[in-house]
Symmetry: C2
Subunit: 160 residues, 2 copies
DNA sequence: GATAATTCGTTGAAGCGTCAAGTAAGGTGG
DNA sequence: CCACCTTACTTGACGCTTCAACGAATTATC
């Protein structure tokens, strides 16, 4: 469990970097937990579940192929499949095999699912405002979004 | 599972807000997963485990009370306790009851634990650089850190 | 000086995500 | 036309986090 293969003198963080990293780490640790907690408490859906339903609600026919949803939500197909099983059990979505070439599966938002998305959407934006957007000025927010995007873009993101 | 008690017309997001939120959400979803994956792969420790060991390594006597560690790592006491059990099993830390008033427990970094921290620290900073710091210019990084801190500060953080 | 309340920590069960393997449906090359 | 590869999705087992309940040690209350 040693370090990397022959490390060439580590570049330690200077004070500015250290401070920036501290704040960033704090954000990464706390925000997701807060968002998820509030969503679950006030909407009965995890953040990921809501995202999934929202993606479907914006899709033609409220329908989309599983692998497309996975890409849209940055999740593994496996995770999506598990969550879809649960949401299907709750009657919020339905899965159907797509006729034609390949082994494709579509997920469709049911009426109940659509009703739920409509019902909780206001609460969702409110939570996002409380915990993120309203904590910065519009100018700061734009700046933050652009920088966050640059970090997240991760030209790499190795083929997981 | 309806919306909030009598919602007063939701303030939907404008285009700028929407874009900022998209980037932020992307960051919150991807970065933690990437950081954890790299840490586990290259260091044999999750990010949280490393943080815990690092906190101890910087403490006097390499020792600190459980509840203090929980606060320092923004984790629940329960989570910390489970992780401590595992790390203790690996011989990286040791727990001892504190004599005196109250029911306090100290965690101490063992020699092996300290050796591991020293060994993987360079890899840890390298990962942080690759995935975060080196993706922005120093100026951008400072700005980003300040804004992240403002969001994460969350004067609220309701009594969970 | 018992009862209750507070603080601190552990534990077990349940839920969710990941990983590795399996399944399904077509395509490709020999 | 059959062995093999690729893409798309599912499944089961395992590990980690959370939640709720409990246990330990002291202090406050009556």
């Amino acid at each position: 469990m040693a370090a990397e293969p022959s490390s060439p003198a580590p570049r330690w963080l200077d004070d500015d970097e250290h401070e920036a990293w501290r704040s960033t780490a704090m954000l990464l640790i706390r925000l997701p937990a807060q968002l998820d907690a509030e969503m679950t408490r006030r909407c009965g859906l995890t953040f990921f579940e809501y995202s999934l339903l929202a993606v479907l609600s914006e899709s033609p026919e409220r329908t989309r192929q599983m692998s497309e949803i996975a890409a849209a939500t940055s999740s593994s197909l496996s995770r999506l499949s598990h969550v879809a099983t649960r949401l299907e059990g709750r009657g919020l979505i339905r899965r159907t095999r797509v006729e034609g070439p390949g082994r494709r599966t579509n997920a469709t938002l049911t009426e109940e699912g659509m009703a739920l998305v409509v019902a909780v959407a206001p609460t969702h934006v409110e939570i996002v405002r409380e915990l993120v957007l309203d904590r910065l000025t519009p100018t700061q927010l734009t700046t933050f979004g652009r920088l966050a995007g640059r970090i997240a873009a991760g030209d790499d993101c190795p083929p997981r």
